[in-house]
Symmetry: none
């Protein structure tokens, strides 16, 4: 089965990643076994190791899989033609997507492990993203709410909103009947009341 095309290799890599994500999501990273993942991916355990050096890296790979185009949008707001409210509405409605559940779980597991092991890299990465998103929020709010600057540190407010975002994801994760969009709606009302006029 040699001399396989790169496309095939990449496809297999992705299928392993997908299978691993499913298994990790169902059993948790620690409880999931490589045999589980192999079986889910329809290959042998040994084959996984041609694509990922070990379970830990596979898990990391899964976690980075989050196709967070939305979060990237927040981090680079200049590049997009969208208002704060529009992007926020999109962001919070995305939380309801089923894939998001798995992502939330992977995120939590990853952080639990990182904190436990004192993995500064992961923490730094998180802090960086938080800062970038907060700056993006500030940028978009400034564009939307002209009076926003008065008495508020917009970047810090952005951080607070990002915290709220993760809290909403956590709530939705725990309780699927939770409605992030509604929660955000309430906060938006307050924001508009505070800034507009």
């Amino acid at each position: 089965m040699a001399r396989v095309s790169d496309a095939h290799l990449e496809a297999r890599r992705q299928s392993i990643l997908a299978a691993a994500t499913r298994v990790f999501a169902q059993k948790g990273i620690v409880a999931a076994t490589m045999a589980d993942i192999a079986s889910e991916a329809g290959i042998s355990p040994g084959a996984i190791y041609r694509y990922f050096p070990n379970k830990s890296d596979l898990a990391r790979g899964c976690m980075n899989e989050s196709n967070d185009s939305v979060r990237k949008a927040w981090a680079n707001p200049e590049t997009i033609e969208v208002s704060f409210s529009e992007l926020a509405a999109l962001t919070f409605s995305e939380i309801n997507a089923p894939e998001e559940r798995i992502d939330t779980q992977m995120f939590l597991e990853r952080m639990l492990i990182a904190v436990r092991e004192g993995d500064a890299g992961v923490v730094d990465e998180f802090r960086d993203e938080a800062r970038r998103v907060a700056e993006g929020i500030a940028y978009l709010m400034e564009r939307e709410f002209t009076t926003a600057g008065a008495g508020t540190d917009l970047k810090r407010l952005g951080l607070a909103l990002f915290a709220f975002y993760w809290g909403s994801r956590l709530f939705r994760f725990i309780d699927p009947s939770s409605e992030p969009v509604e929660l955000y709606g309430e906060l938006e009302t307050v924001l508009k009341q505070a800034f507009k006029q």
Copy 2:
């Protein structure tokens, strides 16, 4: 061997629980070993099994241990003489306490496991607490911000603030340099701007 008193038994049960909580918090539930816990509790591994049928039940016991008076205050606001702002300030500054870290971790682990296992009881419990806290927030906000009712569903806003609270804890958990009090301060500014006047 003399029959040991029930009080003694209960005391030992509690000391095991306390030791387990410490160990679980430090190593995570899966990575913590019964030997670790026994050693931390100053007894033998076998002895634990006289008090808890297995590791899983021991972990469950630990997780219910959280006894945060502050969250109880939110759930029963009529019983206390404190303003929304004061209680909020207290609540967010409490997040900085070192014990809170352990609690956050146990909470996350608990939720991860509960969701994984589809443990409806834990989820219901969480939803109930969220509702009670949201109602408490609404009650206290109404008392503090007289104009708050205008155009806002205060209970829903309470839920949003509770989500923000958990997001802040999550942030602090991941990144110890995070400052929940500051984040909250920004949000409070917005709230006051929106409601006062």
Copy 3:
């Protein structure tokens, strides 16, 4: 099965060591499995790990087991009342003992591994022993062959004789029909011819 006497523990440790030595000798250190050793010792694989942290240390333990009273005698010749010839005769006849076979094998395996892994500790240990034995040989030869000093560096000759000793062990190991005593006898004749008179 708790609260076992120290004697029992030590006995078990020794029985594991003995079993491991037998298995290592039969299969070689690398090919021998912990399951083999456990089975030979009549216990479970896990039990071994209460006595030895890992396979490598277990192997090391086996190798140090060699009850080399003879080699110790060479290293401390002042403490014993024996002539060079007598001790040499004893030494080379000991090579024929069946236990020596296993010891030779363990020694060779150990050295192969040590050299491969660049384990300086083992090499140093060997060099030290060689030096001590060589000095012992020099000491005993001086006592026996009064004219030995003439034109010969006795310590270096001691080293050469130690090399001869190991060569003889190697020969006997490879070919059980080899007769170390006879080989040594021939060398002794030469030595006596050279020194006596």
Copy 4:
């Protein structure tokens, strides 16, 4: 695909053998992987199996590769114009050559395996070589030391010297700071003292 010439096939076989020898020497037979060898030989793992049925046979092939002209000289002393002392000096100085290290290791591994598996063929081969070398030594000594016959069985002495030779190689293998030439020098002094005059 054109039929590949036998010469090409044999050349490839040899290059695999050479690569395997290098890898085995560096990592040891058990620790060396077929992938290592393939990589060293610049081919694919699968290709090796066209030339050798399995790893074990490949290792066996490597071990027979030793082609030391010096030892052949000892075995056939009539064919060469060299004195005992000269050939001995050459022999022991050759031990210092880096290639010798690999050879020593392969020899030891081979013997370890042969003894383990009761491979009489290898043992017989070794015994034969030892005998031939011993006879060669006897032949050359007789030519050099006219009085050598007196009271000494020269063939047996040759065997002893061959044992010393292997001991020296073993020493040098374990401890690269060992000096076989010096060790031999001391022994030669003794021999000359015993025989000359």
